[in-house]
Symmetry: C2
Amino acid sequence: MGRPKEFDRQEVLHRAVDTFWARGFEGTSVQMLVDSMGIHRASLYDTYGSKADLFKEAMDCYSSQTHDAFRQALDREGKSRDILRHFLRDSVHRLCTVQTQGCLMIKTVVSIADEVPGAHDRVVRHMEEIRGMLRDLLQRGKDSGEFAAEMDVDAVSHFLMTMFEGLVVGAAVQHDEGRHLGTVELALKAIA
Amino acid sequence: MGRPKEFDRQEVLHRAVDTFWARGFEGTSVQMLVDSMGIHRASLYDTYGSKADLFKEAMDCYSSQTHDAFRQALDREGKSRDILRHFLRDSVHRLCTVQTQGCLMIKTVVSIADEVPGAHDRVVRHMEEIRGMLRDLLQRGKDSGEFAAEMDVDAVSHFLMTMFEGLVVGAAVQHDEGRHLGTVELALKAIA
DNA sequence: CGAAGTCTGGACCTATCGGTCCGCTACTCC
DNA sequence: GGAGTAGCGGACCGATAGGTCCAGACTTCG
């Protein structure tokens, strides 16, 4: 059967995610990936294909780990508005302090439109998935009578997505947490 | 005195702006610039310095031409709300049809944090300038009694900036104009 | 005229890019 | 032990990256 794999494919991929996340696709060289992943150049190509293939896998990995975290924050019991507020405030806090590198998906859609085939589709699916979570949360609030019966959950979820994307960019421009928290409150006041 | 310059420095710079705008700093090679600007490689370096220097000049050029356009749209007579609505709707339309390349400033702040010294500062100033226009517009509406006397024009202008940045990203993800127009209406409903 | 300045074509530099290949070792199965 | 697989060190590939330099053609000045 031969020698078994020594490194954990998933663990090494995570390190690639971090590198791509920090510097983007164009800003990351294969040499950087070799260094950060800790495997040989040839192993990288044997295991993941090309740089673009690795990037797509990294996007998928990033996407699912982000979804898990978001789902944990959004798919829970309680008043929808409170859950939403906590989610947005926490996002702002992270973007302004720890995760100042922003969002890999937004980085990708903004900088490489068509350089990596399949990248754009992944961004679209990623965003739609998150929007779905927000819509479900809104729907629950609507069903429980917390929000008006006339609320267009589809439109409002899209509004919130735009808001969120704006916060990611805004935090990249200025790490002024208080300012962004004020924006969050205004956004919350806007929905019903 | 010697031979005078044959090409118009500003006109050639505009072509550099378009190239950088379309592909970003990292995605644009010097060869692309030489081709699009129509001048010799050596002339480029003699006239503008380095690629990074040219990029900074391109940012300044982009910034001022954007500000001119925005000022023309925002600094006019009429109801503030109508002016704002028209500005946002028009922006969405452009982002979804003609200017699908998005915004050079957002591209820059998202992809190259510190690669080009001075780039980040330019983005910050650019955004603050636009926010200033929005704040002035809000203040006029507040003075004329159109908006509530309690309105925090600073906070609301920041909310609108976040909204705008979100729309730029959102349009890059999906060119669904109708969807984004709905978001614009929700944002307008939010402010007083 | 000749010095000074402006442009171009194109060669040239070094460094790095993404990607491939070879030779060797380590390991596990039959 | 031998076949088969996984990994590494490191050389290597052609292409391109950003950047420099030179010779020559051109134009305006004193």
